[in-house]
């Protein structure tokens, strides 16, 4: 295949990944690496480098819109970014030592996790939780605009949330994904932060987390401009497009379809990892 044909094909596939990722709220980053390794036969290290940079692009693009809406909590984000960036440094350094088989297997497990997570019902119920001493001292409690006025919330289980964020950062650095599913889990489930605040704050944090490991990947020569270019431009265009046409169309079937695709990719990654093909 020539560079031109390859770039156009990769750009088109990345655009679809970014579009579906934005429409389903699952993020396109998680399918990029399997797409590049399984279908385009790209070495997994190049694929992770390219995926990582495009994750920064989509996160920053989307965060710009969310921050203005007033949902994301910049204090929670900044405090937890200490955990995710430290984790990302660890993950990026592990990536240099781990075999490509091991990375493929961990990737398969992470894909299964995000497919499972996307099928789980959201916790929509209003939670009345007491003020936590540590969270109050750290000034993490906040408020956000709701249908009937401003709603305030209290944050719980700070140490547990912080530890989960460290793991999320390590996975992001090791696999080149945003690991948004795990970040939301840490905030929504462990720290009892409202779902909307959790998802937007997670998006806000993904770019900083990915930047921490992207520096390591770049200096190690894992970021190939010829590959990262079509991936980054495609995913960015797809996610911006997705954010525009998100007019409450029925994403239920799209979500179901996308999670089936994720499970299939996960099995393929696990098979390739165990049989030593990747």
């Amino acid at each position: 295949m020539t560079v031109l044909a390859f770039s156009l094909l990769v750009c088109a596939s990345s655009l679809i990944a970014g579009l579906v990722g934005a429409l389903t709220g699952l993020g396109g980053g998680v399918v990029l690496v399997p797409l590049l390794t399984l279908f385009f036969k790209v070495d997994i290290r190049y694929a992770i480098g390219a995926s990582l940079v495009s994750v920064i692009a989509t996160s920053s693009g989307a965060a710009a819109a969310y921050v203005k809406e007033g949902f994301s909590n910049i204090r929670i984000g900044m405090f937890l970014e200490i955990a995710t960036t430290l984790g990302a440094l660890l993950g990026a350094n592990l990536a240099a030592r781990a075999s490509t088989h091991a990375i493929a297997i961990i990737f398969g497990v992470a894909l299964l996790f995000s497919a499972y997570f996307s099928r789980r019902p959201r916790s929509q119920a209003e939670r009345e939780v007491p003020r936590d001493r540590l969270a109050t001292r750290l000034r993490l409690n906040g408020s956000f605009p709701d249908v009937d006025g401003v709603r305030s919330y209290n944050v719980q289980n700070v140490p547990a949330g912080w530890s989960l964020m460290f793991v999320a950062g390590a996975l992001s650095g090791l696999l080149g994904i945003g690991s948004g599913a795990m970040k939301v889990l840490a905030m929504d489930q462990a720290m009892k932060i409202p779902f909307k605040v959790s998802t937007t704050t997670s998006n806000f944090m993904i770019g900083v987390t990915a930047a921490a490991s992207a520096g390591v990947y770049l200096s190690r020569g894992y970021v190939d401009p010829g590959l990262a270019m079509p991936v980054m431009l495609g995913v960015l265009a797809g996610s911006l497009l997705g954010a525009r046409i998100l007019v409450r169309l029925h994403t239920k079937w799209l979500r179901l379809g996308f999670s089936v695709v994720i499970v299939l990719l996960a099995l393929e990654m696990l098979y390739n990892g165990f049989s030593g093909r990747i």
């Binding site: 020539t2 790209v42 920064i56 900044m78 200490i82 930047a211 992207a214």
Partner: protein
Amino acid sequence: MRSEPKWTDERIENVVANLLRAGVLLSALIVLIGACLYMVRHGHSPVAYRVFRGEPADLRGVRGIIHDTMSLRGRGIIQLGLLVLIATPVTRVAFSVFGFAKEGDRMYVVFTVIVFSILVYSLLGS
């Protein structure tokens, strides 16, 4: 200082949002320019990503990337765009140090400086 508007969370968030948007757009533009040059010169060469070789030294660091950009190499210009992209969240964190300082929130100035140091270490230290 009455003429200067107060730094509130809201105002900081607005600046942050604009900063992120500008960074991503600038980076996409540079990558696109590099892509055009790269396609004109190498569009018909075969691709080789099957075997991992790692990037040449000039595409791994800031100095090499700037040198390649000056000599108008497509791959160097794309890499410069990616560098701008990586720098966007770092700039956002740097601005947050300023924002929290203006608000007088010392604890969060410290937290933000920690995050900033980790990012700078990863970009320059490794």
